[in-house]
């Protein structure tokens, strides 16, 4: 069995207009993948950016060790960005995902995010009551399912720095570049 290590950090996010933001993240892998050590999901700290060009800093460590029996379902990382206000209320600010690179090395990744907009009535309700519309099934974020008729707006960008270490892929005839 080949092994894959994903080692790196959720560095932070920019483009969320100076809100205090945090991120719920997770790694989704196919059925032939098994997590041996580390965690494949979590939640970062809440950062209130000051300076740094408005970039929120999470520096959240990611260290996951997978073994795989097949290549299908290569791990992908999905994120949800939430903003927290002074009263501790959380509001969704974006969904996004990115694939873990398939070559060993160090990678600086930018993951753009998007947010469901909802109908005019829902937007009016969100304006007065608060609480942005959310997805009922969150698999839509990382699976190539049906996104037709979903109206969305662009959100900010999540910055990642991932190192990929592969073991025994070449022994099984996988060309890793």
């Amino acid at each position: 069995m080949a092994e894959l290590h994903i080692i790196g950090q959720l560095l932070g996010a920019s483009g969320f207009d100076g809100h205090s933001v945090f991120c719920k993240w997770g790694v989704h892998a196919g059925r032939s993948w098994e997590l041996v050590e580390g965690s494949d999901g979590g939640q970062t700290q809440v950062d209130c950016p000051s300076g740094c060009g408005g970039m929120a800093v999470w520096s959240h460590p990611v260290d996951a060790h997978y073994v795989c029996r097949g290549l299908s379902g290569w791990p992908k990382l999905h994120v949800q960005i939430w903003a927290q206000d002074v009263h501790g209320r959380n509001e969704l600010k974006g969904y996004g995902f990115c694939h873990v690179p398939t070559t060993p090395g160090m990678f600086e990744l930018d993951c753009p995010t998007w947010l469901p907009e909802g109908s005019a009535l829902e937007r009016a309700a969100a304006f007065f009551i608060g609480g942005a519309p959310r997805l009922r099934t969150e698999e839509v974020v990382h699976s190539p399912g049906d996104r037709f008729r979903l109206q969305t707006a662009a959100g900010g960008v999540v910055h990642l720095r991932l190192g990929v270490v592969m073991k025994e892929f070449e022994r099984h005839g996988v060309v890793t570049g």
């Binding site: 069995m1 290590h5 965690s39 979590g42 950062d47 000051s50 740094c52 800093v57």
Partner: protein, 189 residues
Amino acid sequence: MADAAPPSFFTVMATGQLESGDIPDCDTAYCKFEVVTGEDWQLLDGMETGITQVLNSAGPDRMLVWNFPLDVTYKSTNAFGWPQVVVSVYGVDAWGRDVVKGYGSMHLPTCPGRYELCVRLYRPRSASLLQTFLSWLTGMPAEFADPRFPAYGPGREVTRVVSSGSVNIQVNLLTKARTWTGHGDFWLF
């Protein structure tokens, strides 16, 4: 493992320096660093922890230059728990007290080469209004009880921080991978 591969280990050597810091409203500061690794990692050579000199920044660009050497060599059988550099920057106030200016962490690169890492800093916010007021009154902001906290993932959801400033670290990384039998290179970095 079901696979009867020979036990393999690899060596990671990192040399470099804690080059400088860029922290707003701070001209006297020192930096503590610590390299945090997983259980399977064994230090072969070098210092895992260190404290730089107290630096008084001068000059037009107000950079805090530490130029402090970082030199560690590790041996491991498992890439899980890859070394992380955790830095904490302390300023010195008018009464000579150490005031925390920021914490930061970053994994060493997993690939050989020369890297300029920018570690962004953050510091925790007080948990309550009373503590905020007290820390303002005494001039001592909240600190993490465990200085290794930035290297750990769990338990972060209850942490609220303010981010400001950064530390620049230069790293040259070298890896050596070989199985015990020497038949092949099974680790790809």
